[in-house]
């Protein structure tokens, strides 16, 4: 009878020596392949008696099963080992800066404008676009800023012809809105505005956003309530507003709106010049003359209007000191506005 133990011993020795997938492949050919030592056992059966055949076959089968299990285990171990080796070899320096990945971002004015629009859109305002080159009627006259009225001096105007100006505020856009829509109106009117003024806090071009609400029974309490909500969302929930008297020809009463200083919370600091308050916008109840000019009956409707300087809010919120930087667009400056 064949010495199966010798074969098994040989198998185990050889299996032990096969320590790579490649060697293991050769090993498989040698033992378990078509002509391998174990697969070939069956050929040895032909000269045996019937009884012996039966016995030989049983043992040969046992050996084959035994060998296949051994082989499978060995194979699994080698594969695991080789995979680990590959992982080790393929390790990368995760701290190497990535290539070709650069994402840009929006300009701070766009960011703030979007934020402001979001707040008001949530309150049910629609966003309208009105002309930047505006006629004198819409920029001044229909807003009760009559010809040769000293109020025209309040805004240094760029003229492009006898009757057309680069709009000095977005409030003229409110006239377009009121002429074209029926109350109730809640409209935001954002855009570029122009004044011949240039220093650290003034730029000849800047952005404004006019807020207009027209309906029955609109009053000063609505104005402050709306603005309270706005400043809480734009700055933080502890910011308060304060109204104080001012003058615009198109509103009566007219107010300046201050917010409690976003830097010191109202205790007094250099930003608020120790007053605890920062001026952020002007507004009021639209003068009835303006409503009449737009064909709206002031006995039935009233309206509030306010104009916010977008750059001013951006400067306050981001802590930008010089307005000119907003228009220099240095890449190191632009990169900082990611949110």
């Amino acid at each position: 009878m064949r010495d199966f133990n010798e074969l098994k011993k040989q198998f185990e020795t050889q299996l032990e020596l096969s320590d790579t997938s490649e060697k293991l492949g050769e090993f498989w050919q040698a033992f378990l392949g078509k002509n391998g030592a174990i697969s070939g056992l069956m050929k040895e059966m032909k000269d045996l008696s019937k009884e012996e055949k039966k016995e030989f076959g049983r043992i040969a089968n046992e050996v084959r099963t035994w060998a296949q299990e051994k082989y499978a285990k060995r194979q699994e171990a080698i594969q695991r080992f080789e995979l680990e080796l590959r992982y080790k070899k393929e390790a990368v320096d995760v701290t190497v800066p990535s290539k070709d990945v650069q994402v840009g971002n929006l300009h701070p004015i766009t960011l703030i404008r979007r934020e402001m629009i979001n707040v008001f859109a949530g309150m049910g305002f629609e966003v309208l676009r009105t002309p930047e080159i505006e006629d004198e009627d819409h920029n001044f006259t229909l807003l009760n800023v009559l010809k040769d009225h000293p109020a025209r001096d309040m805004q240094d105007t760029f003229w492009v012809s006898d009757d057309y100006v680069l709009r000095t505020h977005t409030t003229g856009g409110d006239i377009h809105v009121m002429k074209n829509k029926k109350p109730p109106i809640k409209a935001l009117n954002p855009g570029r505005t122009f004044r011949s003024d240039s220093d650290a806090t003034h730029s000849p071009m800047f952005s404004q956003m006019d807020i207009l609400v027209v309906d029955k029974g609109i009053n000063l309490c609505d104005l402050q309530g709306m603005l309270d909500e706005f400043v809480k969302q734009i700055f933080n929930k502890d910011v308060k507003t304060r109204l104080r008297p001012s003058y615009f020809p198109f509103t009566e009463p007219s107010v300046e709106v201050d917010v409690s200083c976003v830097n010191c919370g109202g205790k007094g600091c250099s930003l608020c010049k120790n007053t605890g308050w920062i001026e952020i916008l002007g507004g009021g109840i639209l003068n009835k003359v303006v409503l009449e000019n737009c064909g709206i009956d002031p006995d039935e409707y009233s309206a509030l209007a306010a104009g916010i300087g977008v750059e001013r809010i951006a400067m306050l919120k981001y802590g930008i000191k010089n307005m000119g930087q907003l228009f220099e667009n240095d890449i190191d400056f632009l990169k900082q506005f990611r949110a």
């Binding site: 966003v127 040769d148 000293p150 309040m154 680069l166 109350p183 109106i185 000849p204 000063l220 020809p249």
Partner: protein, 802 residues
């Protein structure tokens, strides 16, 4: 406006502290921009009298023996000034004194002698330029009646404040002491003390004098009063001091009085020397066209009938409300005067000032608006001061020319409810009445209705909203109780689909690595020249600003590229190795010039890239990302653009519309910017400018789903050898024309190598053959491919490569 606290106190009792007063002003709508304490930083400076003087031999110093009253006798103080004399009373800073700016006085040795203090010049007390006598180069000499030993702050009237208050344009009545005193009285709840307007006229008359008005539309009120026996002397110290506090120089009592009345009552006054008035006549009329006048400043000016002049019997002697003439000015020789108080229509004064290019204090006052009340009050106050100071005798020859405007006070009827509806709170009617009365309004309440009499100086008040403002600014804005838009609560808001898409396009570009920029909408025509924009190009049809602040910002931009280029150049100069930017903003296209209707304001999208990693295709990839993101079909064709590289410039076409151009900036333009050598090497700049408004119209209005095909498609690659200048875009377009089955054609590869032969390149296209009605078989696909190869070979002289 400058306001001296002590002057204000003359008309109203002020029993609150200065900070409280500022707060009250602020609450009433008058912002105090600056407060200055006149005695700021001065301590231990007293009146001293020089009792003896000795010259310090060999020096420029005088050794003064000083009597400082209770602070010491025979105090030795050395001074270098040469205007001090024995008996002079001067400010003496004692040892331990502090002067403005924190300068401390100590006893000190000057050469060999000790000095126990310092005698002060006006400047050292911080009063340079406004205190009488402070202009003298030397020690300030005090009046003889100054009490020795007294605190200099009291003696010089420095225990006082000057407020600089900003007055809004609707309150011309508050551009004077009296007007502000009225406001203070209202908010402090004190009575207003009215100025003394009394005077006595003599029996003397001068019937030669003629005063009348020939232009009531431009001068609705014109008062004249004859005074005679005019004496010339310096104004009293208190008047000089008050004028000085408002930056007005004292000249001569009679002239000072007219300036004083301007500051106190808000009424510009004019004094004419009767001797210079031809025909003893003075009256306003419209100037005649091309009439000439020589004004006080010595300039000869040509007038039109839009200008108002004051004339004598012969000729114009002044520009009404703006500037007097050269000849009628008051001099030391003047003995008889016609005083004028007038109301000139502010619009006309403004227009004349602008058209003649002059500006004066008086004109500024008239432009803000003078009311008829102050015309009368001003004249009376002026005469009162003339009498009180003994400047002249007041004749009973007086004239009052009125255009017939009512001197009655206006009445308006307002319901308390209407006022409360504007405010949104309920102010008790009794409080309204109280507030209005304190402000000088007359009020008669009957039920809810208020019959209100508007004071004549409040020309700004005309309807219920004005009354509401008066009430709330006195009642206090802190009474407003915020509420959240009770009405108009429910409206449809939010961004339109187009606005949302615009946001998405910006976000997409950011994701592609671009930074959004924001630039001025103005630049210079030179910026267009720099880009070689031809004179007949549509961009040259730009809108100019008639009154630019600088030539650099003198036109409103017709295109964005110049703005973008400026930003790129600045970033290159700032040594940033590369950058990708975009701006989405309107350009301004006039329908005609000069502008007489609304110009078009289409949005443009400008893209700018520079740096070693950028090339034409990286720019094109950014542009194509928009097409890809929104399912648009962009095609490109070669285009000539004045500022772009002729071999690397293209027009973008979408749905048959030319949307814009893109390409590489010409080298000579890059060179024209002063970029330091070394930074310039990689300064290849790639620019695109697209008409975003036109592009936005190409976006699909809505998404429609196409069912997925269950028919199979086949992909075949073809490689063709063509001339290098063959355009791949053309080949792709041809493939689609040749075979209806070619659903998708992609560029797989372009290969150039010398072994292909000179001027040749190999182009590999990957074609997907598909159709909706059946699956494409291998045979069909091969057939279609062969047809494509054959036709392309004919069309482009191509050779198929295997």
């Amino acid at each position: 406006m400058k306001v001296l606290l002590s002057w204000l106190k003359e008309y109203v009792d002020i029993d609150v502290t200065v900070p409280e007063l500022e707060e009250k002003f602020f609450g009433a709508g008058f912002e105090v921009e600056e407060t200055k304490y006149l005695g700021e930083g001065i301590s231990n400076v007293v009146v001293g009298q020089v009792t003896a003087m000795e010259h310090y031999e060999g020096t420029h110093l005088e050794i003064c023996t000083m009597d400082l009253g209770e602070h010491g006798k025979d105090v030795i103080i050395l001074t270098g000034a040469d205007n001090v004399f024995v008996g002079a009373k001067v400010p003496a800073a004692m040892v331990g004194a502090v002067l403005p700016g924190g300068f401390k006085i100590k006893e000190r040795k000057m050469l060999e002698k000790m000095s126990y203090g310092m005698l002060c010049a006006g400047e050292e007390l911080g009063i340079a330029g406004w205190y009488p006598g402070d202009e003298v180069n030397g020690i300030l000499i005090l009046p003889d009646d100054a009490p020795v030993g007294a605190n200099i702050v009291d003696v010089l009237g420095l225990d006082d404040y000057i407020f600089d208050i900003s007055i809004t344009a609707n309150r011309p009545d508050c551009q004077c002491i009296l007007g502000l005193a009225r406001e203070v009285a209202a908010f402090l709840g004190k009575p207003l003390k009215h100025p003394d307007l009394s005077y006595t006229m003599t029996e003397v008359k001068n019937d030669d004098i003629k005063v009348y008005d020939e232009a009531y539309d431009l001068c609705p009120r014109f008062l004249g009063h004859y005074i005679y026996d005019v004496k010339h002397f310096e104004s009293p110290l208190w008047m000089k001091q008050r004028l000085a506090s408002c930056d007005m120089k004292a000249i001569d009592a009679v002239v000072d009085i007219t300036n004083y009345v301007l500051l106190e009552i808000g009424q510009p006054m004019h004094a004419y020397d009767l001797a210079t008035l031809n025909g003893s006549t003075v009256y306003p009329r419209r100037a005649r066209d091309k009439e000439m006048i020589t004004t006080l400043d010595g300039k000869e000016r040509e007038l039109t009938s839009e200008n108002l002049v004051i004339c004598d019997a012969k000729e114009p002697i002044g520009l009404a409300g703006i500037m007097g003439g050269l000849d009628s000015e008051i001099t030391e020789k003047t003995t008889e005067i016609v005083l004028e108080a007038a109301k000139f229509v502010r619009d006309n004064v403004r227009r004349s000032c602008r058209s003649l290019g002059v500006h004066t204090d008086a004109a500024g006052r008239f432009e803000k608006g003078v009311d008829e009340y102050s015309v009368e009050t001003g004249m009376k106050r002026c005469l009162n001061l003339v009498e009180t100071l003994g400047v002249a005798k007041i004749s009973s020859t007086a004239f009052d020319c009125s255009g017939g405007a009512s001197t009655e006070e206006r009445k308006i009827s307002v319901s308390a409810d209407r006022v409360n509806k504007v405010l949104g709170i309920t102010v008790p009617t009794a409080d309204m009445e109280c507030i209005l009365k304190a402000l000088g309004f007359g009020v008669e309440v009957s039920g809810d209705n208020m019959e209100i009499t508007v004071p004549r100086y409040r020309e700004d008040v005309s309807h219920y909203q004005d009354i509401a403002e008066e009430i709330i600014r006195e009642y206090g804005y802190d009474h407003i109780t915020p509420r959240f838009i009770e009405s108009a609560k429910v409206t449809n808001g939010g961004l339109s689909p187009a606005q949302q898409r615009e946001n998405a396009v910006r976000d997409l570009l950011c994701d592609r690595g671009l930074f959004e920029i924001s630039t001025m909408a103005m630049y210079s025509p030179a910026d267009l020249d720099a880009l070689f924009i031809p004179q007949d190009a549509p961009e040259r049809n730009y809108i100019s600003i008639l009154n630019p602040i600088t030539e650099n910002l003198s036109i409103v931009r017709p295109m964005l590229v110049p703005s973008m280029l400026n930003i790129i150049i600045n970033n290159i100069k700032a040594e940033h190795a590369g950058g990708r930017f975009f701006e989405l903003a309107p350009v301004y296209i006039p329908k005609g010039l000069p502008v007489s209707e609304y110009p078009d304001e289409p949005d443009h999208l400008c893209i700018g890239l520079y740096g070693p990693d950028e090339d034409f295709y990286s720019l094109k990839a950014v542009v194509d990302s928009i097409a890809d993101a929104y399912g648009l079909d962009f095609s490109y064709e070669r285009a000539e653009v004045s500022y772009l590289h002729p071999g690397r410039s293209a027009a973008l076409i979408c749905n048959g519309h030319r949307i814009g151009t893109l390409g590489q900036l010409r080298y000579e333009i890059v060179d024209s910017f002063a970029i330091a050598e070394g930074k310039k090497a990689d300064a290849k700049v790639f620019l695109a400018e697209l008409d975003y408004t036109l592009l936005a119209r190409q976006f699909a209005p809505a998404i429609r789903f196409t069912p997925l095909s269950d028919k199979e498609s086949r992909v075949r690659d073809i490689s063709l050898l063509v001339d290098t200048d063959t355009q791949v875009g053309d080949m792709i377009a041809s493939v689609k024309k040749i075979s209806k089955l070619a659903k998708e054609v992609n560029l797989a590869d372009i290969y150039c190598h010398e072994k292909l032969g000179a001027g040749k390149k190999s182009v590999t296209l990957s074609i997907r053959f598909a159709t909706a009605d059946h699956s494409v078989t291998d045979e069909e696909a091969d057939g279609a491919r062969d047809k494509v190869v054959k036709k392309l070979s004919e069309e482009y002289g191509a050779v198929a490569r295997v």
